[in-house]
Symmetry: C2
């Protein structure tokens, strides 16, 4: 096996296709989660018409680690780490009022989830951790 068998997220960067760039661009400009259909609405001017065009781009972007999917919102958000180097995001803090999303990295949590999974008899594959509430600004208002 040579280096070119490495997964994309192991590499410095990945060349995005036109559709992938468009979708990522919309998410980056938005500073918050968007549904696939909301992304589509933003991109009709650029010639995208079908949900599948968005979902295909999102699939790749998630695979590359440039976009995260928020399961509890059925929505997607751009990764907040500039070059998307290995960052180990493991949880999200979501403001239910203003929709701001903060990525959380925490090795202790990661370890604890592994431990809990083991205790529950589960060989952990992926974990979904989404914390929901009100951000400081919204709580103050």
């Amino acid at each position: 096996m040579s280096d070119d068998t490495a997964h994309p997220h192991d590499q410095e960067a990945v060349d995005l296709t036109r559709n992938q760039s468009l979708v990522l661009g919309v998410l980056q400009q938005t500073h918050g989660p968007l549904s696939a259909y909301a992304i589509l609405d933003e991109l009709r001017d650029h010639g995208l018409r079908a949900p599948l065009q968005i979902y295909r781009a999102l699939d790749k972007l998630v695979e590359y680690g440039r976009v995260h999917r928020l399961e509890s919102l059925n929505a997607f958000v751009a990764c907040s780490h500039p070059g998307c180097e290995d960052h180990g995001t493991i949880a999200f803090a979501i403001c239910e009022s203003c929709r701001q999303v903060v990525e959380i990295t925490d090795h202790r949590l990661a370890g604890q989830l592994q431990l809990l999974a083991g205790e529950a008899g589960l060989r952990l594959n992926t974990s979904v951790v989404e914390l929901r509430g009100r951000c400081a600004q919204c709580a103050a208002a």
Copy 2:
């Protein structure tokens, strides 16, 4: 304020309506998560015809703590605690192969999520923690 203003989940039990009982019954017999539409299919013989009848029952059952919603599956599962006394389920271990679901209670995790939320500037309301992987049986097979 008198005692009768207490929330249902503070009480010993709640009288379920016909539809709520039917929906809970299906979930309890199934030993695994079901989508609202799968529940509906099971209950057509009993006269239920519309998704909304299921969703309304599910809303109440979730409110009463007798059913949990699994965000990453868009599905629902009966609470595994018999009388549904206060149990503090905070996470779920989900086998992606056989769909078995194990409820997890862990005070340390609860505290850590509170802590992380605080660090992220979030006043925590609810948390979604769903661990996905393969259960021991499925991993062995």
